[in-house]
Every structure is written in structure tokens, then in C-alpha cells.
């Protein structure tokens, strides 16, 4: 706290544009650097592990195959992961850090792109973790004498990774659209609850196009073929559309 530190004359920096990799590193630090995010990531890891208890504890009700263990790990991983990504997308507005972020990079679209990329990175790590957990559990269970059918096929591996990425991206899209942590989390879970309506026989047909619980279920199980249009429709509805509107809103919103 001394004035003498600055004996040197004022710098005149020839500043060059911020490379995207640097924005990405900053967004990665933000996504993983806050206390709430760290707890949620730890909890998401725990729910991934805990979900494996279901095929383990109910061998007569749950199919005993490598694919089944993988499916349950994917379901466990995606309970809280979207919330981490909602926090990352909304903190700029709810914690008002948009003020310093956008005065460091006024090209808001680049910040948003870095945020989405960081979110996808976190989802990808979550997917790798889920894969590793399910493989370890299968190996351990077999060693303990459990009869588990052959491991998952490649479409199933790929499916579970894409499933985790897509589910995380719904959180990203809701956060980008709503700019408010509480509203985005509530809407995200309310959407999940609203999807239960599609169990009503009259709505069942529509549900196959709208309900990500159903369409992404096909993704998770590697059953893409024949469902491509339905998976794409629900993705446009719950990811592309909110993300596009949220993008436009972020670019235009006045920061207070």
C-alpha cells in the first residue's frame, strides 16, 4: 500500500484481441471456482456413484448388463450437472459479475461461446466419470460373483456421452435464456415435472417429439435409428430455441 510502487511512467499498452482460449480458461475457472459449483460437482459425482446402487441392489428387477449399469450412471450424473451449468450461465446476472466480465470483453457473444464451451467441457468430464464409474462397478461386481452380461456396445457408450452432454446443455440454454439462477433452476425442474403429462394417453404421441425424458432416453440407450427427427425436434425446442433467444437477450441487455 505504498505510492512509491508506481514510480515508472504510465504504460501505453498496444492491446491485442483476447484469444478465445483465454476466455475459455476464464470461463472454466468461473464454472468450477465458486463454492456452490464445487459442492454441486461433488454431489453430482456422488449421485453418479449412488445411482449404481440401483442395478446392484435390485438384481431381479434391473437388467444385469454392462449397458444397464452405464445407463444408471448416466442418469445419476445428470441429476445435478445441469444445475452447475445453470449457475455458470446465470451468475453473471444474479451475482452481477456481468459488469466486470463485459468491461473486460465487450464482445459478449465470445464470452457466451466460451461459457457454453466450458459447460460442454464440464459435461464431458461428467460423462467420462460416469463411464469410468459404471465400468469399475461392473468389474467389482463380477469379481464378487455377480453374473453381468457383456459390456455396453459402442453406440451405447456414445449414446450415454451424448445424453449427458445434451442434458447439461438444457441447463446451459435455460440459464442463458432466463439470466436468473432461481428462475432457471425452478423452470428446469418444473419442465421435468411437466413432462409427466405426456404419460396421459392422449398426449403420448406428442410426447415422443417434445418430452426429452423420452427422446433422450433413446439417446442414452443408443437407440437412435428411427428416432432422429424426434430427438432433433425436442432438442430444437428445449436447447436451440432458448439458447438463441438467450443469446440475443445477452447481447442486448443493459448491464446495471
Amino acid at each position: 500500500m505504498t505510492a512509491t510502487m508506481h514510480a515508472e511512467p504510465m504504460p501505453r499498452h498496444q492491446s491485442s484481441p483476447i484469444p478465445f482460449t483465454r476466455l475459455l480458461r476464464a470461463e472454466w475457472l468461473k464454472t468450477t471456482g465458486a463454492r456452490a459449483s464445487r459442492w454441486l460437482l461433488a454431489a453430482a459425482a456422488l449421485t453418479t456413484i449412488a445411482a449404481e446402487a440401483i442395478p446392484l441392489l435390485f438384481p431381479h428387477n434391473v437388467k444385469q448388463s454392462g449397458a444397464s449399469y452405464l445407463t444408471w450412471a448416466g442418469i445419476g450424473a445428470t441429476r445435478l450437472l445441469p444445475v452447475v451449468l445453470i449457475l455458470a450461465m446465470t451468475a453473471e446476472w444474479s451475482q452481477r459479475t456481468a459488469m466486470s466480465t463485459f468491461t473486460q470483453e465487450p464482445r459478449r457473444g465470445r464470452v457466451l461461446a466460451a461459457k457454453i464451451a466450458a459447460g460442454l467441457g464440464v459435461s464431458l468430464l461428467g460423462a467420462c466419470f460416469a463411464l469410468a464409474v459404471s465400468q469399475l462397478v461392473v468389474v467389482a461386481a463380477r469379481a464378487a460373483g455377480r453374473d453381468i452380461a457383456a459390456g455396453a456396445s459402442w453406440p451405447q457408450f456414445a449414446g450415454s456421452v451424448v445424453f449427458i452432454l445434451l442434458t447439461g446443455t438444457i441447463g446451459i440454454a435455460f440459464g442463458a435464456l432466463l439470466h436468473n439462477t432461481a428462475a432457471a433452476i425452478v423452470s428446469y425442474f418444473a419442465l421435468g415435472a411437466a413432462f409427466n403429462l405426456f404419460t396421459i394417453p392422449a398426449l403420448e404421441k406428442a410426447g415422443r417429439w417434445v418430452n426429452t425424458g423420452e427422446t433422450y432416453g433413446w439417446v442414452l440407450n443408443g437407440e437412435w435409428s428411427g428416432h432422429g427427427a424426434q430427438i432433433a425436434t425436442s432438442t430444437v425446442l428445449w436447447i436451440v430455441l432458448p439458447l438463441a433467444i438467450g443469446w440475443a437477450r445477452t447481447l442486448r441487455r443493459e448491464v446495471r
Binding site: M1, S15, Q95
Partner: protein, 304 residues
Amino acid sequence: MITVTSLTKRYGPIAAVDDVTFTCEPGTITGFLGPNGAGKSTTLRMITGLAWPDAGRATIAGRVFAALPNPARIVGTLLDASALHNGRTGRTTLYIAATMAGVPVSRVQILLDEVGLASAAQRRVGTYSLGMRQRLALAQALIGDPEVLILDEPANGLDPEGIAWIRSLLRDFADRGGTVLLSSHLLAEVQATADHLVVISTGQIVARGAMADLLASTGLIVRAADHAGLRRLLTQCSVPFAARTDDALRVDTSTGIDAAHIAALAVRAGLPLLELRAADGADLEHLFLSLTSPAATLTTEVTR
């Protein structure tokens, strides 16, 4: 260098900022004053690219903010010390800013030391007092080693030692050739720190210019041990003055009389003066209130 030209912003039919023009030169500290709701923050938001003007423009180092390639290397901004993430530590906050700005990570520790937060660096910002948040926000503004600083109420919540520290920091920054635009309601603090003033009221500029010139128009404080003798002298020389509650006199300088003139008169009359200075403190307040009260129609313009 900050150049603001005819900046205008309307919210519905109301002009929050109406044709505001001023410049901040390198080597100066410009105090930006105005009552609540006068349009100060809106002006600062438009200068820093957080809001868009309906007309006019603002440039920093010759470019509009949105065209600065890596703004933190040119201009440091502290617009609201409460706009920090409560869940991050002080160190992480600066680390993220340093990463974006592309400056060496060693600057984080240097700035933590400089703003006096080294011992609190590992604590979450949510546990910080307002003064600590101000210090962290200031460190964040300084992270890119900028040549321009734009600060909104930076002394808010600081203790007297902190206020003295920020004053010397800003003075030093300007003396090195930096440009400072400083908004504050602490008028005595602005008077002690700034050398130029821009005053706005209901969105319009009501005064701008060098502080010394603007305050000179509000008078001089003169005091002598021989109180009656001083009154007699000033009356004889037709110097307009008013008595104050203490035994000093307040000389009206609107007629062009300055401190040198008073000093010369006193020397010639053999009358020792105890005090001869620009009216300050309450007088910036006086100037401020006279300019910004609803009844004020006066526009003061002093250009040098």
C-alpha cells in the same frame, strides 16, 4: 483520455442523459458529480459499453469501448463494488480477471498486497466488508495495468485510512500520466482528490472545468488577527465580502479579485493574515447545491 460527445440516453420520454459532452485529459483526475438520479451511472455505463447511447458517443484512447481489443489493458473500471461473485475467493476473483486480461499471474499477489487484502485473499468475497469489496474491486480494475481509470464511488465504505490511501493512489496514477474519471458523493474527498469537475443534474451538464476555477468563483476565505482591521481594509478597497460565523471573511471573487490581490493589499496595509485560501469543503458543497438544486438555472462553464 476519455472523450464524451453529445451523449444522450432516453428511457421512454425521459432523457436520463441529455447531450453530455466533456473530456478527461491524461494526467488529470476528473470528479463527476451530480445528485442521485442525475444520470451519472448511466453516463459511466455508456462510456464503458454496458449501455448504448441513443445519440452521441464516448471514446477511450480514441476508440469506442466496444472496439477496444482487450479493454482491461487500457481502462480499468470499478462501477459497483457489490457486483462481485460472493462464492469466489478474493484471489480467484483476481485470477479470473488476470486470465482474461492476459497479464502474468504474479500480478494477482502484487495487487492483493497493494490493496491490503493479502491476508483475506483465501476468504470468500461473501464474507468481505464493503470496504474490502471496494479494495478488491479496485484491484480488479488495476489488473491490466491500464492508463485510464473509471471509478464510481470508490471510497464508499472505506475507513479514513483507506480513503487517504485511495486518494494518494489516484493522485499518483494521474501524476504518472494516467486519466481518472471519478464519481463520488463525498464532496470533501472529491475536492481533495480531483483537479477537474463535471457536474450534471437531471441529465444535463451544469458545470465543468478546472476545480480551481470553478471554486474560485465561489470565493476566498480570509482571516486576520486584527479582524476589524481586515474588514476596514476590504471595505476601503471596495472588495466585496461577507462575514462568516467564525471570525474569517468570505471574499466574493466573481469580480476577478484573487488571492494574490488580497495578499498584496494586506502587505501594503501591514496587516498580517492568518489564513488566505480558496473556500473549500462546504464550498464545493455550496457550489454543488447551488448548481443542482431544482431552482438552479445557472450554468457555469470554465474552460482552460
